[in-house]
Amino acid sequence: MDNNILNNGKRNEQLSSNQSFRADKSNKKIPPVEEKNWILHRYYTRHEYEICKIIIEQELEKFAGLTEFPHYLKGLILRKEGRVQDSFNCFQNSYEVNPRNVNNFTQIAKSLFLLGDYKRAIEIFLQAKKMSDPSEWEINYFLGECYTRTNQLEDAETHLIHATKLTKNENPYIALVKLYVIKDRIIDAIDIYTNALVSIPESEEIATELGQLYLDVGDIKRAFQQFGTVLAQSPNYTKAMIPMAYIMQSNGEYDVAFSKYKITSQSMPESWTLWNNIGMCLYGKKKYVSAITCLKRAHYLNPLALAPACNLGLVFLTTGQVVSATIYLCGAVASGRTSSMAYLLLGLALKRLDDLDGAESSLEKAHSLAPQDPWVLINYAVVLDAQKKSKQARELLVVLNDVNTLIDLDLQIIRMTKQLTVKLQADDKLSRPLFTQEERSFNEDEV
């Protein structure tokens, strides 16, 4: 070790007795450029961005912008403040000052990624990949994200798989699964998460996402297990708590679900999903007034969401406030044009307002969206009958009978079908209007 030449020339210097180190003949000393980097980083990690920016400006002025780290850090801060374009410029400055640092490349590329310029981002990431350490996973991960967004799914897959092999970070796994979901390869997606949980068993996010996937494919038992494990690990993890409560709620355990929602409401009081589910929970407990207020809050928090509007319509129909129901259902129909449920409920509401034409067209729409739905069929048939279109009504009943052979229908539907058949057979002349209401208990809870 070359310790003997330490350039420690000041060693023999006599210390003055005035209790301070002699100033270092200091007019000849140029302070190093990196002198304040440590304190900048310190302030940055403590989220003291304002002070940080003041010192950065001082430093940049002192060296006329020829310092790398202040530019770089300014970029990071501006990005945190949401000024992506400005931060992009900062990273470009730091790249100008030091083109050899891979970090400058990756940050420029990340900025482009955030700005939505994926093609250029990919170019720069590929360049950075050549310069960087091969075990660096982040570049592969971002390349995967970029390729996903430019619809080059094959490339995205290779890069993301590569990234997952290099790291235990959750992000590449989640991105890969999203990709598989786009490609409709749910089984592979589930495999990825199961494997991920072997190497990162403590990841709550992945465990919850896996549960969510199970829920999406309808494997409620596994989903329940998954959420259960997450909650056993960290009992206050809200992301897992809501779907867990949802499952309980669908099984009719309203009180348990409600207590879970109560805990969740502490950490996310402005979540419309949460208030929507609370509303439906109260509806399940037949507390209609509270249900309405909760659903209204959900609707207020996200007026464009389908579920709260649709659910509000349903609860209003139940409480007999048909006009309010109509208003909300119109909103629901406007926001979810592919939801047969919203059209069905709107049809029912309009029928109760004696607007049979409106009801018919609404149900026609519902029927076109879901031609096999027994609830739509029976209600459409009833309305058609009331509109004296018994031929069409009969056709619908035939379809309904076909459906009946395939699945077990609700008793209410079967009874209604019988009545309607009898009435239609009793002939067109004896047209006795038949007003009966059909409603389906509706639990569309978004999770």
Binding site: M1, N3, L6, N7, N8, K10, R11, L15, Q19, S20, F21, D24, K28, I30, P31, P32, V33, E34, E35, N37, W38, I39, R42, T45, R46, H47, I51, I54, I55, Q58, K62, F63, A64, L66, T67, E68, N98, R100, N101, K168, N169, E202, S259, K262, S265, L282, V289, S290, T293, C294, T319, Q321, V323, S324, T326, L353, D355, S368, L369, P371
Partner: protein, 578 residues
């Protein structure tokens, strides 16, 4: 939540000193407790950065709340640390202040020695340029500037000395002077200290000889021996460490853990190269040792991690706010090894492993922490708040951390949750009653009003379109054909220019429809030459079985009204043959 549970009627901490107007601006690693004079009375040494913009920096030494010494600092010290230079000799205490590129050593309350970090030799090319400048009889600052600029582009600022950077940043008129002043001096790059720590050499005694561990901006870890101020060992890590902590004996199984600005984390063992662990998800705020198990790290994204010595993640705890500092609280008499984390807005939280067991409430957020022996007291916690206040608390000898009021947190808090379902007003109840009784009437009135509104608007729009837009002759001819059996169709549109000149590229086609997935919905037309057929293809997917219509609008940018509308009726989808 109150600090003490029902079983505890008082805090575990005694207030010793609370000096709200101490006006100390301090950051982590800027405080230590050391018996500087060897009289058995431990002093508190605080690095006061003056203000957040770093003016008027002082080193203050306090005995209790009284200041006994103060030194003005020229550079900005990044960390201070006290250590001993002999085993079992309490007179051998030394205070090291890492300041810019030198370490100032204080002994017996007096400045003792200044150690400068070895200078980094400048890049040969840079050296060459300055050498030539020195040799030249006539100084040409313009060629010098150009040469240095090219060099900067080539090798990057990280490997260039501050002299060159300063020169390039100066105004032209003072460059001459600057060069005159400096060109005769030898050119070096100066290293900067970013973090410091100590590690015991070979003894577990309370007062033990320690090496100084110094992390530098150049990406090195230096192990220094105080006695001759030799660099005993040097490790290249490649990135500047922002926090360094050590455990064990350097002569034995000692380990130095360090973390970098981008969240890199790793360990060094004697004679081995750096072993890096999985990168942290965010840069670390503070790092400390975790009994003998490994290290604990708090990160910018409010997480608290623990790692084993081998780098395995032991746990991750989500903190309620931004962490500011963290220290270890060894309590060997209780067999405990706690951690104190200062969290912005939440005071100082004490953790036993991953469990939150106590909170020291503070009026202001605590900027930095230090735990150790102070004065005659074994277990004291010194805290400096953001407002510059000094707060010293003593852990009661009777403090019992086995009773954990926070342990059953989840069950207790369940009952305490305030949960209110929004209430209905009397007005809305009255309205409900009215609505129920006059349903159809309300609905009709609303629909009438609504329809009238829509009618008014449409007539206004119609008016604007007809009156205010001039009708133009359509310069384009469109020819559409539908391909496919459904539910997927392709529409092929041939656009032909009819005019005797080039058309500007301001035309575009828009598809209007309902219930059909259309891709692309808008097609911008390029320049079209006369008589040239430009094909455009639209793909459709029909979602239901209703006969559908699709409208193709020919539009011109900046004009409200479409130039032409073509309506295409799509054939009903044929059944899929299975």
């Amino acid at each position: 939540m109150t600090m003490s549970g029902r079983g505890l009627n008082s805090s575990r901490w005694l207030d010793a000193i609370w000096e709200p107007n101490a006006r100390i601006h301090n950051v982590p690693n800027g405080m230590d407790m050391l018996d500087l004079t060897g009289d058995g009375d431990t002093k508190l040494i605080i690095l006061d950065l003056g203000s957040s913009t770093l003016k008027d920096i002082k080193l203050r030494i306090l005995n209790g709340a009284n200041q006994i010494a103060e030194y003005t600092m020229v550079d900005i010290p990044s960390s201070i640390i006290g250590f001993h230079t002999e085993n079992n000799n309490n007179k051998s205490a030394v205070l090291a202040v890492g300041s810019c590129s030198s370490i100032l050593i204080f002994k017996n309350l007096k400045p003792h020695f200044k150690f400068c970090l070895p200078l980094i030799p400048a890049h040969p090319k840079e050296l060459n340029i300055w050498y030539k400048t020195n040799m030249d009889a006539e100084l040409n600052i313009f060629t010098l500037k150009d040469d240095l600029k090219i060099l900067l582009k080539e090798i990057g600022a990280a490997s260039i000395s501050s002299r060159t950077l300063k020169f390039l940043s100066l105004k032209t008129e003072i460059r001459q002077n600057f060069v005159e002043q400096y060109r005769k001096l030898s050119l070096f790059k100066v290293n900067v200290i970013t973090s410091m720590s100590t590690i015991r050499k070979d003894a577990w005694t309370e007062i033990a000889f320690s090496y100084l561990v110094v992390g530098t901006e150049g990406g090195e870890i230096l192990i220094l021996d105080h006695r001759g101020f030799l660099i005993v060992e040097k490790y290249i890590i490649g990135w500047p460490p922002v926090a360094v902590t050590s455990s064990g004996l350097w002569a034995g199984d000692g380990q130095i853990a360090l973390t970098g600005r981008d969240g890199q984390i790793g360990v060094i063992e004697r004679g081995k190269t750096l072993k890096t662990w999985e990168k942290l998800s965010a840069p670390a705020v503070a790092m400390t040792i975790l009994s003998s198990q490994g290290v604990a790290v708090v990160t910018m994204n409010s997480s608290f991690f623990a790692f084993s010595k081998q780098g395995r993640k032991l746990w991750k705890v989500q903190l309620p706010g931004n962490p500011l500092d963290m220290v270890s609280l060894p309590l060997p008499q209780n067999g405990l090894f706690l951690l104190a984390i200062s969290i912005a807005g939440f005071g100082v939280r004490i953790y036993d492993q991953r469990h939150h067991i106590d909170t020291i409430k503070a009026l202001e957020s605590v900027a930095s922490l230090k735990y150790g022996r102070l004065g005659q007291e074994e277990h004291t916690m010194a805290m400096i708040t953001f407002g510059g206040g000094l707060n010293i608390k003593i852990l009661k000898r009777t403090a019992d951390f086995r009773i954990c009021p926070y342990f059953n947190n989840n069950f207790n808090s369940l009952n305490n949750i305030k949960f209110t379902i929004p209430k209905k007003t009397t007005l809305s109840i009255e309205q409900t009653i009215r609505e129920k009784s006059e349903t159809t009437h309300i609905h009709r009135t609303f629909q009438q009003g609504f329809l009238r509104l829509r009618l008014n608007i449409s007539s206004k729009v119609q008016n604007i379109l007809i009156v205010e837009q001039q009708f133009q002759l359509l310069p384009l001819a469109l020819q559409c054909s539908i391909l496919g059996f459904g539910p997927q169709y392709k529409i092929k549109i041939y656009v032909t220019c009819l005019l005797e000149r080039y058309l500007p590229n301001k035309f575009f086609l828009v598809c209007r429809n309902a219930n059909i997935l259309v891709k692309p919905r808008v097609i911008t037309l390029p320049f079209i030459a006369v008589g040239f057929h430009l094909p455009a293809i639209i793909t459709l997917v029909i979602k239901n079985r209703i006969p559908n219509r699709i409208q193709i609008l020919v539009c011109y940018k900046g004009q409200l009204k479409p130039l032409n509308i073509i309506t295409i009726t799509l054939p009903i989808t044929e059944d899929q043959i299975e």
